[in-house]
Amino acid sequence: MDAWLRFRKNRLALIGLALVLLLVLTATLAPWLALHDPTRQSLIEKRARPGAKYLLGADEFGRDILSRVIYGSRVALLVGVVSVLIALAGGLVLGTAAGFTGGWLDTVVMRVVEILLAFPYLLLALAIVAMLGPGVLNTTLAVGIWGVPAVTRMVRGSVLALRETEYVGAARALGAPAPAVLRRHVLPNVLPGLVVYATLFMANAILLEAALSFLGLGVQPPTASWGLMVSTGRDVLLVAPHVATVPGLAIMVAVLGFNLVGDGLRDALDPRLTTTR
């Protein structure tokens, strides 16, 4: 409860929370919020400037940009949430296995993790998408797999530290089986760090999905993805700058929201780090 009180005092974190809630609401209520069908084309109205009918203008095919931005929040959130789950699941399994058993398994897992972590994030995701092919599902997989090494290192670090604590030693001495020790004593203590990481990961996952879609290697048309919208708008940038720039604002707002909440959670859950703020 302490953590929530600290979080509540942090103005920036609250702004972030509001942005995240806005994103979630937009995604769930998309069909009611959007005034137009996001895929309906109207060639006479192509590249329409922002106005009364299309509040944020229309794109190259005369599709309402606002409605597409609203529907795009679904893709961003879906890819973000599912890839977070993939990263957490993979990282938890590998990290606990490596940290708890130690030995050669630990060495092998951590070597591979180090190599993967050293690789620039976009190149790794590009390589994975190049392997799987484009599309929403494969983009999600690529973003999720990209997150596994970092979670693995984090979980392994906490598990190693916890393994040496007295209460874990006591539980083991009393004959508690390894899975029970993990579930009751180790994992609950890893959790706060994971929550912070998952929130900050959401921000990066949304950025990465947008980047992949921008390059044409992520979500494919006609699905409304923010990165894809920026990419199609790029072709008419000099004639109709709003087509590319408006969807980018949506990406920024969403990412900013998760970054602020993540920072706030870190400060709230681990007050020792707050000293520098």
Partner: protein, 307 residues
């Protein structure tokens, strides 16, 4: 020192071989086929089989891997499928542009980020600190491909100050380099701020101040020197991220570098070219990390490099 460098470079060999292995394996598992892409859908079965044999694609995976490694040892990167040019030639055409862009961005990120971070730490909670931190937040949240487009709209379309894209002069470099640098500026400024703030709270800084050492000297001699270790680590990591980000920046600004070459190779299923590009990126990364490790020793005499 020299043995340390040689050992690190030797250690890089298995990493690079591993990278090649993974890249080749992933390409091997790809559903699409370069040969059908090259010949079109209506090619005869014979023609496809012939081209496959010609490119060596009919051999088993391990044989091809060993062939490729053997080729690499002889300094041969193969020929690209699409252009039928030597991959080494394509890569050497492209890499100077990427190096130019990345180094320019790294310089901007390091100078602006460190100066802003130090200023924030020296005057915490001042107006400058507030603005700088707000800017960092946005810098970390803006997708760089979008920032690049916004810059083009503002500085090329509206103000007519800078060219839209392409290469040729220093003015062509400004927008892509600033765009690429922004997220790193934000990261480095944040990190520098907290590192310098931490050091300023140390006992030796208080002692130095107590014995009447001037503030500038305290900062330069005692604080920054010690704060630089974590900053340097971050700089190394950031230069890797900059290379990744170069893929996006090069696409936005039609910058003829490795990143754009790599995206083109992915679209064309040009395996040989893709392998070469990934290899160059991986090699650059190994070298950067080595430079970072070596400079620790220069900054902090406690970290020595023996063998």
């Amino acid at each position: 020192m020299l043995t340390f460098v040689t050992r690190r470079l030797l250690l890089a060999v298995p990493v690079l071989l591993g990278v090649v292995f993974v890249v080749m394996l992933t390409i091997d598992l790809l559903p699409g086929d370069a040969v059908t892409l090259m010949l079109g859908e209506h090619a005869t079965r014979d023609a496809v089989a012939n081209l496959r044999a010609h490119l060596g694609l009919d051999k088993p995976f391990l044989v091809r891997y060993l062939d490729y490694v053997g080729q690499l040892l002889r300094g041969d990167l193969g020929r690209s499928f699409q252009q039928n040019r030597l991959v080494a030639a394509e890569l050497s055409d492209a890499w100077p542009a990427t190096i130019e862009l990345t180094i320019a961005a790294l310089l901007i990120a390091a100078v602006v980020g460190i100066v802003a971070g130090i200023a924030s730490a020296v005057w915490p909670n001042s107006l400058f600190d507030g603005v700088a931190r707000l800017f960092s937040l946005f810098g970390l949240s803006m997708p760089i491909f979008w920032t690049g487009l916004v810059f083009i709209v503002i500085f090329s379309l509206w103000l007519h100050w800078l060219p839209v894209g392409g290469t040729g002069s220093l003015t062509h470099l400004i927008l892509p380099a600033v765009t690429l640098a922004l997220p790193s500026v934000a990261m480095i400024a944040r990190m520098t701020r907290s590192a310098v703030l931490d050091v300023l709270r140390e006992d030796y800084v208080r002692t130095a101040r107590a014995k009447g050492v001037g503030e500038v000297w305290v900062l330069g001699r005692h604080a920054l020197r010690n704060a630089f270790i974590p900053i340097l680590t971050l700089l190394g990591l950031q230069s890797g991220q900059l290379m990744g980000g170069a893929v996006l920046t090069e696409t936005v600004f039609a910058w003829p570098g490795l990143g754009r070459l790599m995206v083109k190779a992915i679209f064309a299923r040009d395996y040989v070219l893709l392998q070469g590009a990934v290899l160059v990126f991986a090699l650059a990364f190994v070298v950067i990390n080595l430079i970072v490790d070596l400079s620790y020793g220069l900054l902090d005499p406690r970290i020595s490099r023996q063998g």
